[in-house]
């Protein structure tokens, strides 16, 4: 068996699950931001933020999911009394952080569209919806105040749609039409799904396939997407986890394998 630059062996790589690629892709969302508050909804984002904190983003600030900031990166499901608290962060103060821009967020999306609009409010006509969802929550404010990314664990033509039913999180075209105050701090950085990673690095800020998770084909993604994705000539694979990252994921952060229940290989 040949060895590679890192200490990850080929055998390890062969055994990397889809959920682990998703966690790695989510971790990379937090690269380069320095001392900001990471908020992450869903298992892969929660693992990604913790991985980033423990490796390449040591200044990242994590929350306990309640009303505190925590030191380090506690494993998923850590007992509250095992956490080391570093600051009080009740909701009223969360808004101070949101509006200051010192935050990087991965939210979930019931629907997401070509220009990066997200919907968690309602399916159908808002006035009398076919399905009332949780509500817009903080999505409108988050998206015009700090970098926002999305996690969609079930990529399909129902979740990746031409136009979302209710614009909760604001995409590029809508921000542009709302004017300079809406675009000033607006960034939809990344969309991570169970099939791949997507960004908006195109001249007209529409969604582009940025990388494919190993085992997924371009045709798989196109078939599961309800709009015309931009497909670059070269589409890389989502990067491999390092040996350290795999070890952190498997033995420290998620020894019970919750990640593989959210996304099956």
């Amino acid at each position: 068996m040949s060895t590679t630059e890192s200490t990850t062996t080929d055998a390890d790589r062969a055994g990397v699950t889809r959920a682990e690629y998703c966690a790695i892709a989510c971790a990379d969302v937090f690269r380069g931001d320095g001392e900001v508050m990471a908020s992450a909804f869903g298992t892969a984002p929660a693992l990604g933020a913790r991985l980033a904190r423990l490796t390449f983003a040591p200044d990242l600030v994590l929350t306990d999911g309640d009303a505190a900031l925590v030191d380090g990166a506690p494993p998923l499901g850590a007992r509250p009394d095992s956490l080391v608290l570093e600051s009080h962060m009740p909701y009223r103060r969360v808004f101070d952080v949101v509006w200051s821009g010192r935050r990087n967020l991965i939210m979930m999306a019931s629907q997401i569209d070509r220009t990066g609009n997200q919907n968690i409010s309602a399916i159908g006509d808002w006035a009398r919806p076919a399905a009332q969802l949780v509500g817009v929550r903080g999505a409108p404010g988050n998206t015009v105040n700090h970098s926002t990314s999305y996690w969609v664990p079930n990529h399909s033509t129902r979740s990746f749609v031409e136009q979302v039913d209710v614009v909760s999180g604001v995409g590029y075209a809508r921000a542009a039409s709302a004017g300079a105050s809406a675009t000033r701090f607006h960034e939809i950085r990344m969309v991570v799904s169970n099939l791949g990673v997507f960004d908006f690095a195109t001249p007209d800020k529409v969604m582009r396939l940025a990388s494919l998770h190993p085992g997924v084909t371009v045709d798989d993604v196109v078939a599961a997407t309800g709009f015309d994705l931009v497909l670059p000539d070269e589409i890389p694979a989502t990067r491999q986890p390092t040996a350290q990252e795999l070890d952190l994921l498997r033995t420290v952060l998620d020894p019970k394998g919750l990640r593989d229940k959210e996304v099956r290989s």
């Binding site: 009303a67 909701y91 009223r92 808004f95 808002w126 399905a131 009332q132 903080g138 998206t143 105050s181």
Partner: protein, 296 residues
């Protein structure tokens, strides 16, 4: 100091149909559920309910008390949505004002500061501005010239919050980690109700928790009502956690008319003492069933 102690009957008697009522707490956390149950038993109707919504809004919708809901979300936390609120929205039974949860905060803050609105970036470009055609923007008078959302004050006829401890004069103490926006709900309201797990002598408040927990001043309170277990089945830490088993029972019952009728008869057609007794009985029955299963 005035003695502001009263009863749930006083609370209901001081409200009237058609009012705009703010309800404190957040999702399925520290909701003034005893007061909500008292409203359910009353003849009050046609209410506008302003809430970081949880089962308070769901129950009030189920009982036909709500004409309009003002919210940023409605969630049971451990269960994503409230089943009754979903039905109310999907059947068109209620009018709705859905805004960003930060806009909601600013609406309460503006009302509590007697301002007509507060400016914010939040809402720009989203459908919040489309589905609420009454929302307007305002241009900065300074050289930046920014155009921002003018979140209107959310004035309340009445507000109800639930806290861990209070004294007879209406100073309230929140012992859990997050005071949410309860102070602002009270500040935004003409008639202010604080329900509490326990009324204690003023001199005992300091021994319950640090000064930061004594966050509701009597300047914000007209009436204080002792309702032990008054946030059940929502969380009221450190006094008690959310009753997850009961919340699941609530959600399951909501999905079936017969089950909901039985739930209503058992838990909602009775007074608060009857409710707490029925909950105690249900908890004991669940524990007995679990023990029997494990013993089998």
């Amino acid at each position: 100091m005035s003695d502001k102690r009263g009863t749930l009957d006083d609370l209901v008697g001081e409200l009237s149909s058609g009012m705009t009522i703010g309800i404190g707490g957040w999702g399925s956390r520290r909701k003034p559920m005893a007061a909500v149950r008292a409203i359910l038993r009353s003849g009050l109707t046609d209410l506008t309910v302003v809430s970081y919504g949880g089962p308070d809004l769901g129950l009030l919708c189920a009982a036909g008390k709500v004409a309009k809901a003002v919210y940023g979300f409605v969630t049971l936390d451990s269960i994503a949505t409230d089943p009754h609120f979903k039905v109310a929205r999907q059947s068109g039974a209620i009018e709705a004002m859905e805004v960003d949860e930060g806009m909601f905060y600013l609406g309460l803050l503006a009302a509590s500061q007697r301002l007509p609105f507060l400016p914010t970036r939040s809402g720009l470009g989203s459908d919040v501005m489309v589905v609420n055609p009454g929302l307007k923007t305002v241009r900065s008078p300074y050289e930046d010239g920014e155009e921002l959302v003018a979140m209107p004050a959310l004035r309340l006829d009445a507000a109800i919050v639930h806290v861990n401890r209070a004294d007879a004069a209406g100073s309230g103490q929140i012992l859990g980690p997050d005071p949410f926006f309860d102070e602002l709900f009270l500040g935004a309201a003409d008639r202010r109700f604080v329900t509490t797990e326990r009324i204690v002598p003023t001199e005992e408040l300091s021994s319950q928790g640090p000064i930061q927990t004594m966050c509701i001043s009597r300047l914000l309170t007209d009436r204080v009502i002792e309702t032990p277990g008054g946030a059940h089945f929502t969380a009221c830490v450190p006094d008690y956690n959310r009753d997850e088993a009961f919340q699941r029972e609530y959600v399951a019952a909501a999905g079936d008319p017969d089950a909901w009728a039985a739930f209503t008869e058992r838990y909602l057609a009775v007074d608060e003492v009857g409710y707490q007794a029925a909950v105690t009985e249900a908890t004991a029955a669940r524990a007995a069933a679990k023990a029997a299963k494990e013993g089998a």
